[in-house]
């Protein structure tokens, strides 16, 4: 079995020897360097820009400003194109903008012979602004009379949606039920992939080539076409190895600007490298969302109805727009289907913060924090075991979401919970830590989640795969799906090997993708690729296998039923080897009677989706006087269906848990409310967890076959990051009796909360 093998990553050797080449490692000739001038106000207009001194600096090739750039508004999220204009992404970006919407907005750009000159030139540019008051929070932007950040949305509300399922109102006011309310809020955090976004662009044969660190090469190509108003075929996007993405590179970032710049310097190669500080300020992040929740629960502990009002801070640009908070309120509803009804109201509000976008979990880390805090708080108030209260209410097998039809085809959540409970010794420690005194106390907490694998039916799900035979009986696997560090290339090879009947060792893949040659796939986002692209690979593999067997029948007309196993043509009955794939390939390539290059290419339009599940259990020690939380033990248990590669799956979970620990305890983008300036946009002041901030991470699985997955598999990429923060928050609650409803649980916040709680 190739699927299920702990196969070594196909790119591991290249990565440990430094031979894996990333965007910045590829250029082999002189390049011009572009540097962007960022605004020093957060809200207002550029009145004028004086570039004379910058242009006069020797080595400066071009200075372009918002007064020179094309006035074509374009969208940036990595969503598939929608053929329905009503569902197309919000097009609210310009390459360079006169209307300043965030501190550090892009208002001009210098192209110079070298980086030092470009930076010097930036300092010589003089800008006059007209400023408006800075609005960093949705309530400021929603106030009557607030200046519209985008004129298309005079009230600064990008979108408001309300979804009602069943009859929630009656239950929410039924005096026979128990009623609860909660307010929970999450903070803005950044992806912090170690490779910053970077691209370079040049022209060849009148077309533009952009080499870029992206998760979505085909979408980048499209959006460059939209932004520049040129045919999409006029653009070629190349994606080399990429140093992490986590959703930030599921966005078209500076590629359109870079593409435009090469056209402004006669097609010369221009590099647009983005600094760490610019990555924080000018690329995406995770939305801060505020949740106001009401719940009605029966005395037997069944959730009857809930209302969830979520306000998402969208910052200065729409990016993924309303999709993320819409996903958040859906996710909130789905994990525990209400017996009677549910109402969700979701707002996406423009503010002057750097615009958030997709980040590992797409709204679900936020709603899971709210939802799992709420479950804990209800259980605590009612003196119920939070484990049992959850178990009573989790999504059952066969659940069908009433609004979009996404179906629970498989669930092992209850068994995941059991495994986590046993690992952490839940019953023993919940009792042991019940009545502690003193400044240092311990607690255990848990959280669960559900997560839909792909984006169907909200968006198109399509993927293509091509398999090409080599003379030596190995094959090339060509995809539009992208390896971004998660191990995609490795599991794709395993899946192809499984479908064809080859050892994985005989499947080659090239990590670099080129939209001129790679088949179409919308790229790495959601947790879709092993599911959606997996289906395309399976179909292509089966087609390829049929073609091979058909050729084998030509070569072996006397033989009985044939099969392809482990790279050999065998007798279907006896299993006797009749022909190697290499012998078949040489004949097929060079036969004087019937020469054919055996290839298979398939597009799979995926019209299925399925839920993955899991949970986190954490044991913490809280030093109350200094507000410090130490995670002593932590485990994530996942139901991601059948694992394609258990070793890589485990590694993926570790990374997600780590991101969850940072989300829980230390990470937060902080702003100066007066100017809107980001205060900690670097890796020193932004507290990304180091090795010392982690306990040992344990990843466990319950492997059930999902009937809808190509190999019984479902989402794994994003889920590990989801349940960690609420599990830690709930463990702190268990330890101290103090419910902290705002992330992160930083020492400063904890000390304030412990003071309010009377512990200090």
């Amino acid at each position: 079995m190739e699927v299920g093998r702990a196969y070594t990553r196909v790119d591991a050797a290249d990565k440990v020897t430094g031979r894996a080449r990333y965007t910045d490692d590829l250029h082999d000739g002189p390049m011009l360097v572009a540097k962007i001038l960022h605004s020093t106000i957060a809200n207002g207009w550029v009145k004028s820009i004086d570039t004379a001194a910058a242009r006069a600096l020797p080595g400066v090739v071009k200075v372009l400003t918002c007064f020179d750039a094309p006035q074509i508004q374009y969208p940036t999220p990595g969503h598939p194109w929608s053929t329905d204009p009503g569902h197309q992404d919000v097009a609210d970006r310009l390459l360079l903008t006169r209307r300043v919407r965030i501190y550090g907005d892009d208002i001009a750009v210098v192209v110079a012979e070298d980086e030092v000159t470009a930076r010097r030139a930036l300092k010589l540019i003089r800008v006059e602004y007209e400023s408006c008051p800075v609005m960093l929070e949705p309530e400021q932007a929603m106030e009557p009379g607030a200046v519209p950040i985008h004129e298309e949305h005079p009230d600064n509300i990008l979108k408001r949606t309300e979804t009602v399922v069943g009859q929630p109102d009656e239950a929410l006011s039924d005096p026979a039920l128990l009623h609860f309310e909660g307010h929970y809020q999450t903070q803005q955090v950044q992806h912090c992939h170690i490779e910053n976004p970077i691209s370079y662009a040049y022209m060849e044969h009148g077309r533009i080539t952009v080499v870029t660190s992206t998760q979505i090469p085909h979408i980048v190509r499209r959006v460059i076409g939209q932004a520049l108003g040129i045919g999409w075929g006029q653009i070629r996007v190349i994606k080399p190895y990429i140093g992490g993405g986590f959703g930030n590179k599921q966005e078209v970032l500076y590629e359109p600007l870079n593409a435009w710049l090469t056209t402004q310097v006669g097609g010369r190669c221009v590099k647009l490298d983005v600094s760490r500080e610019e990555t924080f300020q000018n690329t995406r992040s995770r939305h801060p969302i505020r949740f106001d929740i009401k719940a009605a629960v029966s005395s037997q502990g069944r959730i009857m109805a809930r209302e969830c009002v979520a306000i998402s801070n969208q910052g200065g640009y729409a990016s993924h727009g309303h999709a993320i908070v819409a996903n958040a309120v859906n996710g909130f509803r789905q994990t525990y289907p209400d017996a009677v009804g549910h109402r969700s109201v979701a707002y996406t509000v423009y503010t002057n913060r750097p615009a958030p976008g997709a980040m590992r979990g797409y709204g679900i880390p936020q709603c899971d924090f709210a939802g799992e805090c709420l479950m804990e708080d209800i259980a605590r108030e009612m003196n119920w075991d939070p484990y049992q209260f959850r178990l009573k209410n989790i999504m059952p097998l066969g659940y069908v979401d009433p609004t979009n039809g996404i179906t629970c085809y498989s669930t092992a959540l209850a068994r995941c919970m059991e495994k986590g409970r046993d690992f952490i010794r839940w019953d023993e420690l919940r009792a042991k830590y019940q009545n502690q005194t003193g400044p240092v106390r311990r607690g255990v907490g848990m959280a669960v989640f559900s997560y839909k694998t792909g984006v169907y039916p909200i968006s198109l799900e399509t993927a293509s795969a091509r398999i090409v035979l080599n003379q030596d009986g190995t094959v090339q696997l060509q995809l539009g799906a992208t390896e971004i560090g998660q191990g995609g290339d490795t599991v794709f090879c395993q899946m192809a090997a499984q479908a064809i009947g080859l050892p994985t060792e005989r499947v080659n893949i090239v990590s670099t993708q080129d939209t001129d040659t790679a088949p179409f796939d919308t790229g790495a986002y959601a947790s879709r690729q092993t599911y959606v692209t997996g289906k395309a690979i399976k179909k292509a593999g089966e087609l390829f296998r049929e073609k091979v067997l058909s050729y084998a029948r030509e070569m072996l007309p006397q033989a009985g039923e044939l099969d392809l196993r482990a790279g050999e043509i065998v007798d279907g009955g006896s299993g006797e080897s009749l022909l190697t794939l290499e012998e078949l390939a040489m004949e097929a390539f060079y036969s004087l009677e019937h020469s054919v290059h055996i290839t298979a290419e398939v597009t799979n339009h995926c019209k299925e989706n399925t839920f993955a599940f899991g949970c986190c259990f954490a044991e913490v020690e809280v030093d109350i006087p200094v507000g410090k939380v130490k995670v002593l033990r932590i485990v994530n248990v996942h139901d991601s269906g059948r694992l394609i590669n258990p070793k890589l799956a485990e590694a993926q979970v570790h990374g997600g848990m780590s991101m969850g620990i940072g989300y829980a305890l230390s990470e937060e983008m902080k702003f100066d409310p007066a100017t809107g300036r980001l205060l900690n946009g670097n890796l020193l002041d932004y507290k990304l967890p180091t090795a010392m901030d982690h306990p040992e991470l344990t990843a466990l699985f319950v492997e059930d076959e999902d009937p809808s997955g190509p190999f019984g598999n479902k989402a794994l990429g994003e889920p590990p990051a989801i349940p960690v923060a609420p599990a830690i928050r709930n463990a702190v609650l268990h330890a101290t009796g103090v419910a902290v409803n705002t992330l992160p649980l930083s020492p400063q916040r904890l000390v304030e909360e412990f003071r309010k709680g009377g512990l200090i």
Partner: protein, 166 residues
């Protein structure tokens, strides 16, 4: 101002003209083509550009090229032996699935070379501290620690660590 830098890089004597303002990271990447040296912050925060200078791990992005005059520099490109085999540290990273996106990997491997080269044995907690100058967003450091610990133990023929306490 240009200056001639004479040093030893990955066992080979090198003589190269550099700008006095250039970081060692830029010298290694741009002038010598050693692109394993990654840049994630350029201010000494992330550790991706770590190389060894006379056996000591440094952030090459905040180390001037001219300071390397006469010194011996080692990057990941210099770790494979003459038969092309991976070094035991590289092998440990491969086998422990300590590599994901791979961008922080060369830098951490160079710190591991320093750690293993110290000839000392370390506890898990000490190893955490020793690699804490490297930021990684993919792995939670779990398999990286496993790889470094394994390389340290193998180098000293120590018995593998006890099963981690539950």
């Amino acid at each position: 101002m240009m200056e001639i830098l004479r040093c030893t890089v990955n066992g080979r004597p090198v003589e190269v003209g550099i700008d006095q303002r250039e970081s060692l990271a830029d010298v290694l990447r741009e002038r010598l083509g050693l692109t394993s040296v990654k840049k994630g912050c350029e201010v000494g925060e992330c550790g991706a550009c770590t190389v060894l200078v006379d056996g000591t791990a440094i952030d090459s992005c905040i180390y001037l090229g001219v300071w390397a005059q006469g010194k011996t520099i080692l990057t990941v490109e210099g770790l494979q032996n003459e038969n092309g085999e991976l070094s035991p540290i590289q092998q440990a990273f491969v086998e422990e699935a300590a590599v994901q996106c791979g961008f922080c990997t060369p830098g951490i491997i160079m710190s591991a070379v320093e750690i293993v080269g110290s000839g000392k044995r370390y506890t898990r907690e000490e190893l955490r501290k020793l690699i804490s100058g490297h930021l990684c967003r993919c792995t939670g450091y779990q398999n990286i620690l496993n790889a470094v610990e394994r390389a340290v133990n193998e180098a000293h023929k120590f018995v593998g660590r006890e099963e981690q306490e539950q």
